[in-house]
């Protein structure tokens, strides 16, 4: 009996999430669109996440360079380190790590903010005052997250490649020109496309899951804490799952 209730609850949650996500997208095609909130959220999500994305990207590229140059040297292929680091950063690590870092920072922030508003009846007050909370709170966050994650990923890719280059050139004695040449030698437009399609989906996952968890908060401050944790856990897991699905689809379409 308890299992049936759990299954029923899970199915209802999926239905509610789907409806929220669909409504928030549909809101983009009819007025009003709260542009001030979109820009405010873009600042919070995008500019606010810049330091952690820069640091994560740089050191991920650096450690990737460090590990790969050691392994590749065993096979006498140290020269392709640049290519290895660039492809790994652009296709996978840049988008995924940016997604995970922004998820930890923003999905939790969104869930706690909306959760606090929910338990203090501010969401109901908003509805009573004639504002649709989905339009005012959810759509601006999703739009901002999608756009800003795209740019954050580009920043992460660039700093990751710089980190890899720094390790390769200054610590492993690779030639700088050769490193850069190798970095772009095997890179194709399809790889870049794959790396830039992913963050759009990840941004959607982060903001929509954060909003969903926040808006269904029950049970006071304890509930807000629970929603915050759930938002980070669910969005992180979804990012990995979505990453797999997009990679599978793109590889089947473009063959790489």
């Amino acid at each position: 009996m308890r299992l049936i209730l759990h299954v029923k609850s899970a199915v209802l949650s999926v239905q509610d999430y789907s409806l929220l996500a669909a409504r928030s997208i549909a809101n983009l095609f009819s007025p009003p669109i709260y542009w001030a909130d979109v820009f405010q959220q873009a600042d919070l999500i995008g500019i606010g996440s810049l330091p952690i994305v820069l640091l994560t990207g740089f050191f991920t590229g650096a450690v990737l360079g460090l590990q790969s140059v050691t392994t590749l040297a065993t096979f006498g292929a140290k020269e392709v380190t640049g290519s290895f680091v660039t492809l790994s950063m652009i296709k996978e690590l840049g988008p995924v790590l940016t997604g995970l870092m922004v998820s930890g920072r923003c999905a939790s922030g969104i869930a706690s903010e909306l959760g606090s508003m929910q338990v203090t009846e501010q969401i109901d007050a908003m509805r009573a005052l004639g504002t649709d909370p989905t339009r005012k709170l959810v759509t601006p966050r999703i739009l901002s997250a999608v756009v800003m994650l795209f740019f954050l990923t580009i920043v992460s890719d660039a700093t990751g490649m710089a980190g890899g280059a720094m390790v390769g050139v200054f610590m492993s004695g690779l030639d700088a020109t050769q490193y850069l040449h190798s970095s772009f030698q095997y890179l194709r437009y399809m790889d870049v496309l794959q790396g830039l399609v992913k963050p759009a989906f990840f941004g959607f996952v982060i903001a929509s899951v954060g909003c969903f968890c926040g808006l269904r908060t029950r049970g006071g401050t304890q509930g807000v804490g629970r929603s915050t944790t759930q938002a980070v856990v669910y969005s992180s897991v979804f990012i990995i799952v979505v990453d797999f699905l997009i990679s599978r689809v793109m590889i089947s379409i473009f063959g790489r």
């Binding site: 203090t120 009846e121 501010q122 109901d124 007050a125 908003m126 509805r127 009573a128 005052l129 004639g130 504002t131 649709d132």
Partner: protein, 268 residues
């Protein structure tokens, strides 16, 4: 032909997760009436207010507000109706990231009301609750009673035809409660707004029923007991709920004279 009621519930029932909250509740509120909703904690009083504003939907029964059936009305179509309703939430529900001015002006900002007009009405509302000096403060800088008064200012700023007060004096000390009740009486007697007031404090309900606002002295005074209504406001009526069911629907004399032992015990 009798005037159309402002709010009408017809056998409204609602349950949360198989727990019945309201069970076949029927009542109506006439224009200009102050309907006090009484009952023990958890009997469905706040839920009833949210149903009036369309913030919740009933499982069965019909709800009419301003003559319009809102039971199945889509959320988008409820917004024009909500523009005619003011609501004061139990814990004020002020937007904590906005200043007092922006909280009170919220609806007008969304409606793109000209700034000069909006500012004037915000000031007028804050003057009504005697808090015009707090205009630039944030909710976190106000006391509980002040927050409640700002919530009242936010509810009345759009000059609504119906105001819903959800436990406006809950958690406040007696002096602050008296100030809030005075504001309710002032709103009722100056603007003649229809109101639903949820409360569990009998003292507040009897103050509402036996006092009037004196515009000359700018304060609440007891009604004349030698007058035609014997010192009781005839527009103040009661709805008492118990376990989600209506156990009393009537005026002040009928409530105090009720032979029901539970009701007698409750109002004592």
């Amino acid at each position: 032909m009798p005037a159309q009621p402002i709010v009408a519930f017809d056998r409204v029932s609602l349950a949360f997760d198989d727990n019945p909250v309201l069970d076949s509740v029927s009542f109506s509120v006439a224009a200009g009436e102050t309907r006090i909703i009484l009952g023990p904690a958890g009997c469905g009083k706040s839920v009833l207010l949210k149903l009036v504003n369309g913030l919740l939907r009933p499982d069965s029964g019909r709800i009419h507000v301003f003559g319009e059936d809102i039971t199945d009305l889509p959320e988008r179509d409820l917004y024009p109706l909500r523009a005619r309703i003011g609501m004061v939430f139990q814990e004020s529900a002020l937007f904590d990231s906005l200043s007092v001015h922006d909280n009170v002006a919220y609806r007008m900002t969304q409606d793109h009301t000209p700034v000069a007009e909006s500012d004037a009405r915000v000031l007028e509302s804050l003057r009504f609750v005697e808090l015009e000096d707090t205009v630039n403060l944030f909710p976190s800088e106000l006391s509980g009673g002040m927050r409640r008064r700002v919530a009242i200012a936010r509810a009345v700023v759009s000059r609504p035809e119906l105001i819903l007060y959800d436990s406006p004096t809950a958690g406040l000390d007696p002096i602050t409660s008296a100030t809030i009740i005075e504001l309710l009486v002032k709103q009722r007697d100056v603007s003649h707004t229809t109101a639903l007031v949820v409360t569990h404090r009998m003292q507040d309900t009897f103050t509402l029923a036996t006092h009037a606002y004196d515009t000359a002295s700018h304060r609440m005074v007891p009604m004349d007991k030698s007058g035609p209504n014997r010192g009781v406001d005839p527009r103040t009526r009661y709805l008492v709920l118990k376990d989600g069911r209506v156990v009393f629907d009537g005026d002040t004399p009928a409530l105090t004279a009720s032979p029901d032992p539970w009701l007698k015990d409750f109002i004592s």
